[in-house]
Each structure stands twice: as structure tokens, then as C-alpha cells.
Amino acid sequence: MQSYDIVVIGGGPAGLAAAAEAKKAGVDSILILERDHELGGILNQCIHNGFGLHTFKEELTGPEYAQRFMDEVFKLNIEYKLNTMVMDITDTKVVTAMNKTDGMFQIQAKAVILAMGCRERPRGALNIPGYRPAGIFSAGTAQRLVNIEGYMPGREVVILGSGDIGLIMARRMTLEGAKVKVVAELMPYSGGLKRNIVQCLDDYGIPLKLSHTVVDIEGKERVEGITIAEVGPDMKPIPGTEEHYSCDTLLLSVGLLPENELSKTAGVELSGITSGPIVNDSLETSVEGIFACGNVLHVHDLVDFVSQEAANAGRNAAKYVKEGSKPATKEIKINAVDGVRYTVPVTVRPNEMDDTVTVRFRVGAVYKNSAVAMYFGDEQVLKRKKQIMAPGEMEEVVIKKEELAKHPDISDITIKIEQA
């Protein structure tokens, strides 16, 4: 069996940043396994601009952002294999993978970094009634068809869900000559960025209907029409509010799910809320030596934060490889309550943690003129006023080691939303 110090599963933005940082932290033996025919992951199909404002202070397209990290990986001479599907990971960090040239092979890794990203919720998971014709696509699949393969999924489009990919595809399809008739959003707010609503919908006069959902799909062979209806506070369609649109395409942008099938084979414990691994401040999962970062851990809003988080995972994996396992002397749980849906990480180790640890989270509803509060035990250590918080955007707080050290007896940390 071959062996590597670190095997990175996935060569998208998270995997690339993690590998580069691990190498810079002094680990030489690193292998990235990527299932597609090129590195860069989903960024390759995100040809729109708006990436990298935080990281590079300039506005890049997805492929350009990916190239910056690929160039770094090339420069650092990090090994990678393309067209390679990882089939299994054990809790002892044996990675089984397969491709056409190497066949099926196994690698013993000292540390594994999970960076498999996420996938889209399909139509099937929504129980939308109606026929099952061609012409129903998740927005990302349509994005791949248009941007990578150069094919148009259709000419007259209805979009369900106002996630960013759906909004971006509304504009893209319009520029390609399609007519996007409406974007329906189940929630009373959009999960997408304001900028995307303005520049992808308003610019082209595409209506956004909040609190609406698809109640019927017509067309036996190919989509011929879509009926949407308003939903009440119980999320159920209100009879009599149905509106019919003739169209040949339905795009779905109804949520992303971290893709943790492999994590499960390794016995990694997952969060019921994020569907991603439960990690401590070093982004280590419940299985020693297996780290996670990027959208496989929790779905991010901006790729810049993916890169930051992944670099962190890379550095910690390198530290683990070089220093070996050291059981935490103490571990403090972070409670996510009162509007905070979850936190990443879920625990911090006050003695082993870095000087600062960034805790990222999302809120469960739109909060105006509220505050993010953090408590060490019962003591409030932070209250930051925020004019607006929305489920579509990640929030963060920073835990300082120094400050935590002043509270040696606490057993938990709480992060919540309070009145300003």
C-alpha cells in the first residue's frame, strides 16, 4: 500500500487551499484526489464575477479565483490525481480510490482532509407533484451544461428557489437569449445576495415572488408549463393563488447539502443541522486525524471564507502529522441558541487552540437591529450590534485564547442573537 502524510479528498477551492497551506507548514508528502478532469471544482462553472474580494481585494471570476490556488499548488509541487473517485475512507485513514490508469488503489494516510464540497437538493427531495419530464434541472447542472458544455437546457424558464446559483443562472440564461419568466421562493426572504437580486433579476426585469412554490409540473415528455402558488405561514400552498406559466424548463435552486457519504464510511460524526462533520477548533472531526473544510463542512456564502477555513484545516493537519496525536486536555462546547442555527467549530480546546479561533455560523431568520452575543459560561464577553443578519449570509465571532484563559472554570460557550 502506498502512503502519504496527508491525503486531500477533493481538488476544489477547499482542497487546493488546504493542501497548499499544509505544504507551507512543512509537510511534503501530500496527495490531492480529484474526481473531475481538472482541478478547481465547481468554480470552473462559476464564470461570473464577484469572487475574491476578501482574499485578493479584486473581483475575479470563478475560474480565475481557482487558477490562483491551482498556480500555488503547482508552484509548491503538490501531487494530485485527476479523474479519480475516492470510494472509501476507513477510520484508520486508509483511502481507497479508483481511476482508469491506476485502477483501484489504497493509500495509508497519516491525516485526511475532507474537501468534497456539497451537492444540490434535487427535485425528488421536494415532493413537487406533477409529471417527471425532461427539462427539470438543478441550477448547478444547468450551469455546467451552459458554461462548460455549451448547451442550452431550454428557452423559457421558471426558477424555483432564489439561492445565488439560481439567481446567477437567471441572468446567464437571459444573456443566452432565454426568457426567464419568474423566480419563485418558498421563504418570505431570498437566500441570495442582494447584489445578485439586483444585478441578476432587477436588471432584466425578472420578477421574484417570495412565499411562492411550484405546485404542478405539466408536460409528459418535456416540461410544458409550471404552476406556482403562494404559500401561507405554514408553507402550504394557498388555494386560489395559483398562477400558470408556460415554459420548457424548470431550474431548481433549493439548497445545497454537504456531500458526506465518504465521511460516513470513516465513521465521522455529522451534525443534524449542517449535515457536515462535527469539528473542534482545529477542524478535526470526531475521527482523529481526519479534518474537514469548505462546503463539505458547512455550506458557505463566499469562497473567500472557504479558502480561509481550508488553510486552517491544512495547517492543523500538518501540525497533527508532525506532532502526532495529543488528546485535548479540555474541550469546551459551543452552544448555538436563540436564532443561531449552528456553529463551526462545535468545540474549542482552550489549551491547544490557536491564539484566535474564528467561529462561523448562520442565523435561522432575518434579524434587523439585533446583536450577536457570546457568553463564556454565564458571562457575556461580546455583544456586537448588527443592523441586519439573514440566513443567506454567514456570520462570525472570534474567540481569543487569551480571553478564554481568563475563564478557566467554564464548561460551555454560548452564541446567540439578542436585542440590540
Partner: protein, 485 residues
């Protein structure tokens, strides 16, 4: 040319009949209006091999069910398709209705179902820990099983084809009549076909063909059933096929593992008139979830569903299979009203219909008939060494195309290039399971399209989901149009 026999419909009944007839020295063809076999009723059902205690004592349905069930093991082996006798349980949730189980038991025994017994509460809950607390007894039928309806249908058709039966797809029979010489003329959208005998295996349309020639008319009601298919995570929720006690509308909403490790819940039963109306409804799905919940606890349908679909059962007014040659139309053989347990009965139906046709034509048997078929190689059970051997011989087995079901390019190539090979996304899906997993083809469809394009030379913008107008991506993007392809 004049065929000896033309079968209308390439569903399980038609395909089983075709395979049985391929044993004889006969020119046989199958006319199918869909672009593939298994395009109608056969593709959307519970995927259950019923034990045979439901059908009325003495009915043809009861006889063929029990016979079909008995034949299934050997047939699955010959055709190299997965089949498992997981056993079925008809669960009683009201003490007052336990008598109904005894009635079912008695009927089953009379029908010739083997090894039936009634299990009481304690044993029952040990057998199925997720049953509702109210479950107080059940009829247990160890011979009940689960199978993949696509694979059974496809395998029978493939084997028939290898043994000389022609299949014409996208060919819809529109009208038929018998001329003075006793030859049947079948008008289709692709011209006229002539034959000495006709088998009417047209599913929900079998009444249409029957009524064109018969004195005594029949009426088929499409009885729609909505289903939910749950993620493989839920595959171990139930070991057996769990039925409620039957009602007039059928066997009720079952909860069962599938042969591929998912969990299936369904069907509802709604009588409709439109023979094409396979749309699911919100009411149907709600009904399904509610009713399934009466027999099992904590079934997370909404959270774990990966797809929902609806099928149409070809319900004949007398709830009986209509099989036989029509006196007033010599050479016209009905195979109509084939609803549940049609899938289970199909091997026996095929045999019976073929016997009738052979009785008319008196053909001799082929010397070189080969009833064995090698299925699409499924490498998932192989050791690493075996896989590597395979990939060395054919590197396509090293490239995974469908991530959810771990289906390799090699399997997809096999599905495309074997007899009656796949030409559409659904064709590939039903043969290999690529696209049947939890992401429902979001990941693999562009990749499968690329393979279909390369292997069959079908332009990408012409590739369909399931034939006809079901084109996936009907146009090139603006700029691509300007460039070379």
C-alpha cells in the same frame, strides 16, 4: 414479410411472452410505442414478487401469481438479475380485524402458497422492530420477494432478442384487422406490419385493441398509484415487505426494502380515465405518508425521499387477467388487464400466452435456444484485485460516472452496446442505476450525455431523457453555435 406472431407492447408481459416464443422456430416481433422496453406500467410499480394469497381462489390471477412466484428464482438466475425472497407481512393493527388475516391465510393455502403462517405480536415486533405499536399480528409469507422490475423486463426482452425476436421501438400500433386470408394487418406510425397471430400486451391500452376485434368488450381503468422512494440510508428500515390488510382498492400502501437497498413506500390507488396521467399529486403523496405511518413508526418520508413517481395499473373491471385467443378473431390473443400481481406473474403469463400461440401455429422448437443471459457486470462486489484485473482489461471500469450509485463508465458502455441497448438517459439509468441515487442524476447526466453522444453518435442536443420530445438540452448556447463542434 408476414410474421408468425406480433406482440403489441414490450412491458413485462410482452417481453415474457417474446422470450417464451423465442424457444420456437417462429418469426416474432414486438411493437413498442416507447423508445425502450419497460416504458409503461411495468416501469412504475412496487417491485414486489407477491406470494399469491391476495387473488381470489380459483382465479387465473391466483394461479399465475403462485406459478410466477415459483418460477422467479430460476428465471432470475438464468437472466442474471438480482432477486431476494425477503418475505412479506400483512400487518393487522386492530385486534378486531385479526379474523381477516385468517381469511387471507385460508385463501393463500387454497391458492397453493407455501409456508404461510400467522405471527403474533411478540414475534412480529422482533421480526420488524419499526412496526407501529398497534401491530398485533401478521400473515407471514416467506415466499414473498423483491426484484427490480426494469431489470426483469429488460433481461427477458434482451434474451428474447438474442434468440431471434425483433423489437421495433417508437412504433405505435394504431389499428388492426384480419384479412380474408386470416392474416392480421397492424397499422402503426411506422407503416403496416403483417402477422399470423397477435398478442395484445398493451397494458392500459389493452382494452382498446381487444375492443377493436372482440364481441364482448372489456374496460380497463388506469388506477394511479403514487410512490415515494427513500434514500439508501433507510434501506434497513424494514426487512420484509410490510402490507396493510387489503381492501377493495387493492393491497394497500406497503413499505418495503427494494432489491437495490432503498425503501419504497406506496402505492395510493386512484381510478382515473387518462391512460397517460402519470403525474403525482400533492394529495396522493400526503395520503401515502399518512397511511404508511399507520403501520410503521417514525418513517421519515419527507426528509429521506429521493424521488416520487406514479404508475398506472391496468385494472380490468372484473379484476382478473384476460388471457386467451378470441373465438371471433382467430389468431388474436389477449394478454389484458395485467395489473398487480402482473410483475410476479409475468413468467407464467409469458408461458401461458406462448402456449396459446404455439397451439395455433404448431411450431417446432429451436434446437439452439439459449435461455441464459449475462447481466451487466456489476463490479461493486469485487475485491480490489478483481477490480484491477477488470480495469486493466477495460479501463472504462476505472472511471466512476454516477457518484451516488458508484456506476462506472464500463457499465454504461455495456448498457449502451448490449442487445436492445440504451439510447437515452432513462435507458442507461434503468439498466445500470446511473442517476437513480440520491442526487437524482444532477451529477452524472452531463457525463452520461457525453458518453451517449460519443458511443452512438447522437448529437448532444438530440439526446433524450426517455425518447420522443424529452430532449434534455435542445440547443447549443449562442456562442457555441458560432464555433466548431
Amino acid at each position: 414479410m408476414i410474421y408468425d406472431c406480433i406482440i403489441i407492447g414490450a412491458g413485462v408481459s410482452g417481453s415474457a411472452t417474446a422470450r417464451e416464443l423465442s424457444k420456437y422456430d417462429l418469426n416474432v416481433c414486438v411493437l413498442e410505442k416507447g423508445e425502450d422496453v419497460c416504458s409503461g406500467t411495468s416501469k412504475a410499480n412496487s417491485a414486489i414478487v407477491h406470494a399469491g394469497f391476495d387473488a381470489a381462489e380459483g382465479s387465473l390471477m391466483a394461479k399465475l401469481n403462485v406459478e410466477g412466484n415459483e418460477m422467479m428464482g430460476q428465471l432470475a438466475e438464468d437472466l442474471d438479475i438480482p432477486f431476494e425472497r425477503n418475505g412479506s407481512l400483512v400487518v393487522c393493527i386492530h385486534e378486531s380485524e385479526k379474523g381477516g388475516l385468517q381469511d387471507l391465510y385460508n385463501r393463500g393455502v387454497a391458492n397453493g402458497v407455501k409456508d404461510l403462517r400467522i405471527v403474533e405480536r411478540e414475534e412480529l415486533h422482533q421480526m420488524e422492530p419499526n412496526l407501529a405499536e398497534a401491530a398485533c399480528a401478521a400473515l407471514y409469507a416467506p415466499t414473498g420477494g423483491i426484484i427490480c422490475p426494469f431489470m426483469l423486463n429488460i433481461a427477458m426482452a434482451e434474451n428474447a432478442n438474442v434468440n431471434g425476436v425483433d423489437f421495433f421501438f417508437n412504433t405505435e400500433a394504431e389499428d388492426l384487422h384480419r384479412d380474408e386470408d386470416g392474416i392480421w394487418h397492424i397499422r402503426t406510425n411506422n407503416g403496416e406490419y403483417k402477422t399470423r397471430t397477435v398478442v395484445n400486451a398493451a397494458g392500459v391500452y389493452s382494452d382498446v385493441f381487444h375492443n377493436m376485434v372482440a364481441d364482448k368488450k372489456i374496460h380497463i381503468t388506469p388506477r394511479r398509484g403514487d410512490y415515494c422512494l427513500l434514500d439508501k440510508e433507510m434501506g434497513s428500515f424494514a426487512k420484509h415487505t410490510i402490507f396493510p390488510q387489503p381492501t377493495k382498492m387493492g393491497k394497500g400502501i406497503l413499505v418495503s426494502p427494494t432489491i437495490h437497498g432503498n425503501l419504497i413506500v406506496g402505492p395510493t390507488a386512484v381510478d382515473i380515465e387518462d391512460k397517460e396521467a402519470t403525474a403525482t399529486t400533492a394529495d396522493g403523496i400526503n395520503d401515502l405518508i399518512e397511511k404508511a405511518g399507520m403501520h410503521v413508526d417514525n418513517l421519515p418520508v419527507r426528509r429521506k425521499v429521493i424521488t416520487s413517481f406514479a404508475g398506472l395499473r391496468a385494472h380490468e373491471d372484473n379484476h382478473e387477467f384476460v388471457i386467451g385467443e378470441l373465438k371471433e378473431a382467430p389468431g388474436f390473443v389477449d394478454c389484458a388487464g395485467i395489473e398487480s400481481p402482473g410483475l410476479t406473474s409475468s413468467p407464467a403469463i409469458g408461458e401461458m400466452v406462448a402456449d396459446i400461440v404455439a397451439g395455433i401455429l404448431k411450431p417446432s422448437k429451436k434446437a439452439n435456444w439459449d435461455g441464459k443471459r449475462k447481466g451487466i457486470l456489476n463490479p461493486s462486489g469485487m475485491s480490489i484485485e478483481e477490480r484491477n484485473e477488470l480495469i486493466k482489461k477495460n479501463p472504462a471500469y476505472g472511471q466512476i460516472i454516477c457518484r451516488c450509485e458508484s456506476i462506472s463508465e464500463g457499465e454504461i458502455l455495456d448498457a449502451i452496446h448490449r442487445p436492445l441497448g440504451a439510447r437515452s438517459l432513462d435507458g442507461v439509468k434503468r439498466r445500470t442505476r446511473a442517476g437513480m441515487g440520491r442526487c437524482q442524476a444532477g451529477f452524472c447526466s452531463p457525463r452520461v450525455m457525453e458518453i451517449i453522444n460519443r458511443e452512438l453518435g447522437i448529437p448532444v442536443e438530440k439526446i433524450t431523457k426517455s425518447g420522443g420530445k424529452s430532449v434534455i438540452a435542445p440547443e447549443l448556447s449562442k456562442n457555441r453555435k458560432g464555433g466548431e463542434l
